[in-house]
Amino acid sequence: MLFDDPVYASRLLTLLTLSFHIIYATIGVGVPLMIMIAQWIGIKKNDNHYILMARRWAKGFVVTVAVGVVTGTIIGLQLSLLWPRFMELAGNIIALPLFMEVFAFFFEAIFLGIYLYTWDRFDNPKKHFLLLIPVALGAGMSAFFITIVNSFMNSPGGFDIVNGQLMNANPLAAMFTASMPTKVSHVLATAYMTVAFMLAAIAAFKLIKGSNHEYHKKALYMTMKVGLVFAIATALIGDLSGKYLAEYQSEKLAAAEWHFETEEGAPLLMYGVLDENQEVKYAIQVPFALSILAHGNPTSEVIGLNEFPVEEQPPLVIHYFFDTMVTIGGFMIFLSLVYWIGIKRSWPFVKANWYRWLIVLGGPLSFLAIEAGWWMAEVGRQPWILRGIMTVDQAATTSEYVGHMFILFAGLYLVLGIGTVVVLRRIFKNDPVEKELEKMQGGDPS
């Protein structure tokens, strides 16, 4: 399959590259905001711990940004290499946000370079802080623009097809399509949420490993609080995404929910398996919940998958992606909420090691939710690359050797992934917090 079917190989390679890039992209979107918050608190409270937090995060960020830029460049060019027919069409309608994204990168790259290399060049630390604003803004705008492109693929708009010819292209209308508001906001909220929990996981891990430093406690409390806010936002927007799907891409929602027959007052299914007759077994049923997710009304009608021709039905595996995402979302809200209340009320167990292990687990879980979310959104769009207009078979390259390229890139990502971990560990091992604090001000945190 991999070596003799360019369509299949292109899909796998796209899956691989995007799944890898999204890890770094998420970090790239989220970390600047976290650095900003920490540095701002540090300047406000005149607390060196927070300044050091910003500094250390920025240091690690250099490494992940580099890999983010590299993998982003790869996916940018690979879109043309693997999906030439799609890019030819897309170039006519949706090139504008792609082009804007480049400016966002430019903007971010310039100020990031300045920010990273000027820690001690300003007498007034607020000036240095100001440099972060364009960095965070640029990163957010990158995500904003690229997600607009993805929204367009899910709900194309801004042009007419007359006799198979593309007419009346309207680049602005193509940017503001039906799925754009929920998609963009969900992607941004999840990036901030995930990065907050990733940093919380690191702080919790340090505390478990015996460091009892104030620094880690402050970091943990702050990141869990930020994470909670964005986790709640994520769930709320996720609910709106469901309503979008019900209205515009009902086949995706139906496939994700194994909802075959159109019915009113539909239940939500979690987990379970399908037997050979497409009967759902061992699933947890939440009565009326699917109708609520779809239309905000427990008795409303939800369209079932059987309404769609078989060749247009998305793969049913996306049910598990959806479950994974939602389960993790719920779990993270619960975990961070209990932690926050626990700290306020001085419940001892939130400081216990087993609770901290759960927080450590939350970091990788959040990334898993991001991956699951994208897999559900993209695999759930199958067989379309541009929903209702172009299928992946029509879009894929006709070149040979795509499968070989897959092997090549898989090797590359392996090296990059291992490299990131090794280098990050080395940086922080050589410079533990305690030592850096001493360097800053004789260990005195104020």
Partner: protein
């Protein structure tokens, strides 16, 4: 000026920007690796690190700008070039990835890994070589349409002398541009040893450069006569470019005004690059695709141009700030305030 030409000019300008800033970066990597192998690391590494680390991401965006822009302005080129370039493009991407990660992985590793520095240096030559293949392909003769889909003839491509002259030119150009720039930069930092070394490299690479460039024009006379005759119509641009090349070499020889020498070099390459571009007009890919057939719709073209102007209004001041802080700041350049984390 028609929108087609405006779009192409903007892209060509950015590609030119990438050729210059990218060459500086690629060549520096090569000189860095070379100096490690010959045990002269102490002379060059510091300069290379100080200049390149803060700006490499910006360099990369020039490249991204070009390939995103060309899909926007000329969507059909995505189809033609995307289909043919799967393998050369993928190899170029992998090399780019090795380089990009170098800054992250190596400037933090406590002890530089020799193997990585070596790959980094080698990729600095291989990337321009692999990217330059696109120029060769665009000259036509290597692509045929099979069932309506473009197919690249690798055997013809790799046995053509044109291909190899362009590869040699790209490598010579990278090393020459980089060496002249680093001579100037090292001189600014007041590092006499590094300046002398780079000056020697710069003069050394000026000759292969001009030989390779003439060689290509000669190859074209038989490979693509139409293009060749259009180049001849523009002989005066190439002649001017040659004069500027003489100027650079003369200044280097006399150890005078390295800043002006680099200025001449930019002028030399700009003239040659645009003369080549103009003579290539109107083809993107001989003889299959011209900028007129491949152009996007008017609404998209206008909005791209508007975004470009707005984007430039944002970028130029920021770029100026970056250069002011790192390239033209005396203290930073000389390493006095070099407290990078």
């Amino acid at each position: 000026m028609s929108l087609e030409i405006l779009g192409m000019s903007v892209l060509w300008l950015f590609l030119f920007g990438y050729v210059i800033v990218g060459s500086i970066d690629y060549g520096a990597g090569f000189f860095n690796a070379h100096s490690i192998i010959t045990g002269k690391q102490h002379i060059l590494s510091k300069i290379i690190q100080r200049y390149l680390s803060p700006v490499w991401e910006v360099t990369n965006v020039f490249f991204v700008f070009f390939f995103v822009g060309i899909v926007g302005f000329f969507p059909q080129s995505a189809y033609y070039f995307g289909t043919i370039l799967l393998i050369p493009g993928s190899i170029g991407l992998i090399l780019l990835a090795i380089r990009g990660s170098y800054y992250a992985f190596e400037s933090y590793g406590t002890s530089g890994h020799r193997g990585y520095a070596f790959m980094y240096g080698a990729s600095g030559l291989l990337i321009p070589a692999s990217l330059s293949i696109v120029l060769t392909i665009s000259e036509g003769g290597f692509v045929s349409l099979v069932d309506g889909n473009p197919v690249l003839d690798y055997v013809a491509l790799f046995t053509s002398p044109l291909t190899w002259s362009i590869v040699v030119l790209s490598i010579a150009a990278v090393l020459y541009i980089s060496a002249v720039f680093l001579t100037w930069y090292a001189n600014k930092t007041g590092d006499v040893k590094a300046t002398d070394l780079m000056r020697k490299y710069a003069i050394g690479w000026s000759i292969p450069l001009i030989i390779a460039a003439s060689g290509i024009i000669y190859e074209l006379s038989s490979h693509n006569e139409e293009h060749f005759s259009r180049i001849m119509d523009l002989w005066w641009m190439f002649a001017l470019s040659f004069v500027l090349w003489l100027g650079t070499v003369w200044l280097l020889w006399k150890r005078k005004n390295y800043g002006l020498a680099f200025g001449f070099l930019v002028g030399q390459f700009a003239l040659a690059f645009f003369a080549y571009g103009i003579s290539h007009y109107p083809y993107l890919l001989y003889p299959h695709l011209t900028i007129y057939e491949g152009f996007t719709n008017t609404a998209m073209a206008i909005s791209l141009v508007v975004v470009f102007i707005l984007g430039m209004a944002l970028l130029l001041p920021s770029l100026y700030l970056l250069l002011k802080l790192f390239l033209f700041d005396k203290n930073y350049v000389q390493g006095n305030k070099n407290k990078e984390e």
